[in-house]
Amino acid sequence: MARVLAPVPNRPGSPLLILLPVLAFALLIGPVVAGLLGAVLPALGFLPTLGGTSLSLAAFEELSTEPGLWWSCWLSLSIGLVTTMISFLIVMVFVAGWQGTRAFGFVERLVSPMLSVPHAAAAFGLAFLIAPSGALMRLVSPHLTGLTRPPDLLIVNDLWGVSMMAGLVIKEIPFLMLVTLAALPQARSRELSRVTAGLGYGRLAGFTHAVMPLLYRQIRLPVLAVLAYATSVVDVAMILGPTTPAPLAVRVLQWQSDPDLHRRFVAAAGAVLQLGVTAFALLIWLTGERVMARLCRIAAPSGHRYVRDRTGRIAGAGAMILSVAIIVAGLVVLAAWSAAGLWRFPDAAPLSFSLANWARALPSLVAPLINALAIAAAASGFAVILALGALEYEARAGKTPTIRALVVLFLPLLVPQIAFLFGLEIVFARLALTGTLAAIVVVHLVFVFPYVLLSLGDPWRSWDRRYGHVTHALGKSDNTVFWRVRLPMLTRPVLTAAAVGFAVSIGLYLPTLLVGAGRWPTITTEAVALAAGADRRLIGVTAFIQAILPFAGFALALAIPAVMFRNRAQMRPQG
């Protein structure tokens, strides 16, 4: 009984338990590697089913003759870098300028709901707001503008992708905000800010010199994930992006569905090129990091305190509030269209409201809704089990996550979706798995798992281990600690992680489309399919449902513990 009061010594986890982290790592690396191989080999001319048995660069040569190819690459690169830069700056300036204030607390509460709005729904909302015949123009016409017909301005689908960047920025801000909020305590932001304030520095300058170096290390991978995503996103590009030509990822998708099978080789080469464009964007960013770090080191000892940073602070708050307002206004406009009768320009409101659109749309949305719920429930459920297994193994083996493990965790988020999903579809087709529910859930897991683990990791690790020591002292096993103490105490973060996974899965477009072979339409694939042309009312209905599903997940995550622990005052959320 000597060990009773001593901390539990580090020892290897049980042989069975190690299977879970191994499985998790295989899940993260396997599909990405298989998918990349599945893209690289055909790009080099090797795809025996289509008669490609020797290696050559012919596909790349053909790719290079595609009209506007370099412009497509430029779009992907510039949209990715600008989007990431702007989102990052807004979040950093806002956090630096407003940390600890009431405004900060207000935005903090809005982050999760904003994060859960799927990209496609937010993009639709933005498009419905800013188009020349959109809601904003309708509000000011004809009284202010004198217009009775919308102006012929290229706003949505503009050639430089500005509206697409805006659509991405409003969705990346909540994501970066969330990871920043999680990292602030570790960067000891409050304490350091007090020190710099005491030394007379302005909020922004103090934050940049003292907090940023610590904070950035923590949020670096998520920032890079944003960059990789923005350089290769498909659904937002289809809704808001340019079409003459489209960004590279959209064109890869088009080549892939060309009736001329030979074009599959070009598509594969395009997927590899996309990988290169994303890698190049990451390289530029990493170089920028070094330059910034050096500049900061030079600036720090200069003694400038930049006390007058009011303009910067207000700009940061303004941008933050604007981004939230755009998402909310977009959802309101979606809801209005979903119930609109005839609504012509420049009327600020529809002539009539009716539920006819809903009655018309709902019957055909039942199956996509059930599919989306089933896939999201399965993917988030498995992801939570895997994450719990990995974390419990880590705890019992006394291991701490290394940077290498984190990179693996982010791998599926750092590699452009189109690059490895394209190849993965070929691999799945070889195994006759395309279009099966199992294949879709596995692919969703690849994207869901990192978010679930990120969400669950901190609360799980910061659980007070002395509860475990006490339980051990009562002669109970590790398993009892897990099932009877740790898991019940952490019910809330576990459910929140599940809701995060659920929301991520609901929003996934490309993986569902490519691996599902169209047989598993979800609310998201339906919404994006409507993007090209359907009636705004139906887009309104579909995108609105798509947007509220993740909310439902979060609401459940809040409700379940409240019911479970209705007789357990200490288990209920504090405050």
């Binding site: 089913t49 290229l154 340019p242 079409t243 009736p259 012509r344 006819a356 339409p521 042309g533």
Partner: protein
């Protein structure tokens, strides 16, 4: 879980069917329906128009009720992708149990599949009971699809004709030829556009221009080669060059399909639109998308028209079920419902005058809607060019207008 069981089950049925005979015989209707019962038919059909999707969902419920056939609409954005999928399956040696059971198709996609031997080999469509009512005399395009003989390898489903729409309240006297359209566009820049090819309505617009301007129409009925393409399309591209700066957004963006273009008319962004369906505007008025002042018109020299079909790939998993669905889609009941502008408004392939009285009465009762031209006012039908023209037109279009830098 239920799905996997079902998939295993239907695979079993598939094997059983394979053991009996190669493919089911549509002339033995009883045996066909017996075999079809319980089959799951994956119907790959363009899914960009909610009205059509709803109609297919209705057809699915009905065949489920009557024949126990489970119809699954796989919504595709471009039928070319389905051709590519079947080709890929053939290349991979998947000669049965294919993922496509029935495909909504015509034109170059049909020709690709037919020439590659990837359609169900026997002329099954003409043996279906409903085929008896098809108007083969009055609607020759049900027998030749883009100049290529159909040979009973696809079942006619509907008729398409290019029809233009305008809002009377805004534009009283619309231009009725491509030449007049260009003249009108000069006076009204930014008020006209067309869907971005390779969208099929956008490509049809190109073909319409080609037909009106090309020096020798007869060339278009033959397979294309470099020389004929250059000679025939020079006036087309000269026209498009002149039209581009006069287009909506100066041709720097295009609507992605005709639904998006219809939305532009609803938003007063453009004044003239078109669709490949004569009653599209009536349907849109019925669902509050367009104001009731929108009307249809056709060009004086006629407009492109064709038929659309459903076909069964060689490796379909549920051939009997697919035939039962094809027969139902051709039946007077389904055709009448399809022609109703409140449902879809797609013209029938049947000879309405030759139908039994009760069925005919259903058609006669249909209100075509205020914006729909009666059949006799739809004007001359221009036949589609040979199927080989389209791909060339699309590639050349993308090269000239697909990049705006």
């Amino acid at each position: 879980m239920r799905r996997t069981i079902f998939a295993a089950f239907s695979a079993l049925i598939g094997f059983a069917g394979l053991a009996q005979a190669g493919s089911p015989d549509p002339s033995n209707w009883q045996a066909l329906t017996a075999e079809a019962k319980g089959q799951k038919v994956y119907f790959h059909a363009w899914g960009g128009e909610p009205r059509i999707n709803d109609y297919i969902a209705w057809a699915g419920r009905t065949v489920k009720e009557r024949y126990g056939v489970d119809l699954v609409h796989v919504k595709v954005t471009d039928t070319a992708g389905v051709v590519s999928k079947i080709l890929a399956e053939k290349a991979a040696g998947r000669d049965d149990g294919g993922s496509v059971d029935l495909v909504w198709i015509n034109g170059e996609n049909f020709v690709s599949l037919k020439n590659a031997g990837m359609l169900l080999e026997r002329p099954w469509a003409i043996k279906l009971p409903s085929y008896a009512y098809v108007d083969v005399a009055g609607k020759p395009t049900v027998l030749t699809d883009f100049t290529v003989p159909v040979d009973g390898l696809e079942a006619p489903w509907g008729m398409a004709k290019l029809v233009f729409f305008h809002d009377m309240a805004v534009l009283a006297d619309p231009p009725k030829s491509m030449a007049a359209l260009l003249k009108w566009a000069r006076a009204n820049p930014g008020r006209f556009t067309y869907p971005q090819p390779p969208d099929f309505v956008g490509s049809t617009f190109l073909k319409q221009v080609l037909f009106e301007l090309t020096p020798d129409n007869a060339l278009l009925g033959k397979p294309v080669d470099d020389a004929t393409f250059a000679a025939a399309t020079t006036p087309l591209f000269a026209y498009l060059d002149e039209l581009r700066p006069l287009l909506w957004r100066k041709g720097r963006a295009y609507p992605q399909n005709y639904g998006a273009m219809r939305q532009l008319l609803a938003d007063s962004e453009v004044d003239i639109t078109f669709a490949f369906n004569p009653s599209d505007a009536s349907s849109a008025i019925a669902s509050n998308e367009l104001p009731d002042t929108v009307r249809s018109f056709v060009f004086d020299g006629g407009t492109i028209g064709n038929s659309h079909f459903v076909a069964i790939p060689f490796n379909a998993n549920a051939k009997a079920g697919a035939m039962v669905v094809a027969d139902f889609l051709m039946s007077p009941e389904a055709q009448a419902r399809k022609q109703d502008p409140n449902v879809w408004g797609d013209p029938t392939v049947l000879d309405v005058a030759g139908l039994p009285a009760a069925e005919r009465a259903v058609f006669d009762r249909l209100e075509l809607g205020i914006a729909t031209l009666p059949p006799e006012k739809l004007g001359r039908t221009l036949l589609e060019p040979h199927a080989t023209w389209l791909a060339r037109l699309e590639v050349e279009w993308a090269r000239r207008y697909g990049v705006n830098q």
